[in-house]
Symmetry: C2
Subunit: 203 residues, 2 copies
């Protein structure tokens, strides 16, 4: 089983963690699985929803793919050296992605290097303060690292993971399944188009 | 505060409950709030995520809006007369919506009358077996009742609730905020267009 850790901190945004994880889990029968991965046994969303983690944070070292979710407390996360030490990510053997403010975590871990990032408008100044160029685009990937901006951009992050692990046909099928009824083709075209564009964008 | 009960059963689909609730909760400062409402203190999603309910099922009688989420066990829900008795919904004073298989619940409660419904392809035959016409469309509303089909159709259900309670400008702002970065305008146009079309569709 190819395992995806969807890292979810206290104060998390439900759209950011659950759109990516639910989309990826459409592919469970094909050997790809997403698991909500949390630093404490239970985390509470920005809207007060308590969720029990499916894996402890140490799972990030075993996972084949690590997605860093977003939320209202990401600035506390990146100010906490103990928390950052729990995220020894390795882009040479893992796919690594961030959603919205999750890019701050990748920046602080030194994983973005010179690549630009996609983040939400609220996070933008904080990521820029780390010396990272922010794109006016929903999705950007270079090699094994991807960033997505705007809550619903998490569709693109999830589709990127499926594309990179199982291939574009699997991503197409997963997006087709979750699309609004009657809008399957346009949704598939938009999502896969955004992933393709985000991988190819010129700097 | 205008309160929205997002009814979430065991085996629920995360996309269906959380896209609508998170979108609606963008409007909390404007007096509109969504709460995950569950028949047991904790429910487990179809992907194994344990979520603690924010309100017990009895909250549906107090709520101004009730959205029935979807999942892999909805057929058990509608076969359980005790469960159905816990959902005394009243379309004369409540907005009522269903996501995917949630339409089965509305059908069994006798709330759909002669109106057609939007559901996912898996649920379609079961809703048709209740004598309900299923549309090849993502969203349909008549009066105070709405149905959405396809997981990502939950954006339309959430936007409908905001439109009907706070107005179209508030829905536009909420969708703009959660849209993928750089795709704000096209997302707003698509979502609000689907809601408008779904309210106006000819039978």
């Amino acid at each position: 089983m190819i395992q995806v850790a969807v890292v979810t901190f206290d104060g998390f945004n439900e759209l950011d963690s659950f759109i990516a994880s639910a989309l990826i889990n459409r592919c469970r029968s094909q050997g790809l699985e997403a698991l909500i991965t949390t630093p404490t046994p239970v985390v509470t969303s920005m809207n007060g929803v308590e969720v029990t983690g499916q894996r402890p944070i140490g799972f990030v070292t075993e996972a084949d793919v690590v997605l860093i979710g977003s939320g209202v407390k990401t600035r506390d996360v990146v100010a906490d050296d103990r928390m950052l030490a729990m995220l020894p990510l390795d882009p040479s053997r893992q796919l690594i992605g961030s959603q919205c403010s999750g890019a701050l975590v990748l920046a602080r871990l030194g994983l973005l290097g010179t690549m630009p990032a996609c983040v939400d408008v609220t996070t933008r100044p904080f990521v820029e303060a780390c010396g990272v160029t922010v794109l006016d685009a929903p999705f950007h990937a270079e090699g094994n690292i991807a960033t997505a901006g705007g809550c619903l951009g998490s569709q693109y992050l999830g589709a990127w993971v499926i594309t990179r692990t199982l291939g574009e046909e699997a991503a197409r099928a997963a997006v087709d399944y979750v699309a609004p009824v009657g809008e399957e083709q346009q949704t598939v075209d938009r999502v896969l188009g955004a992933v393709r564009t985000g991988q190819a964008v010129l700097r």
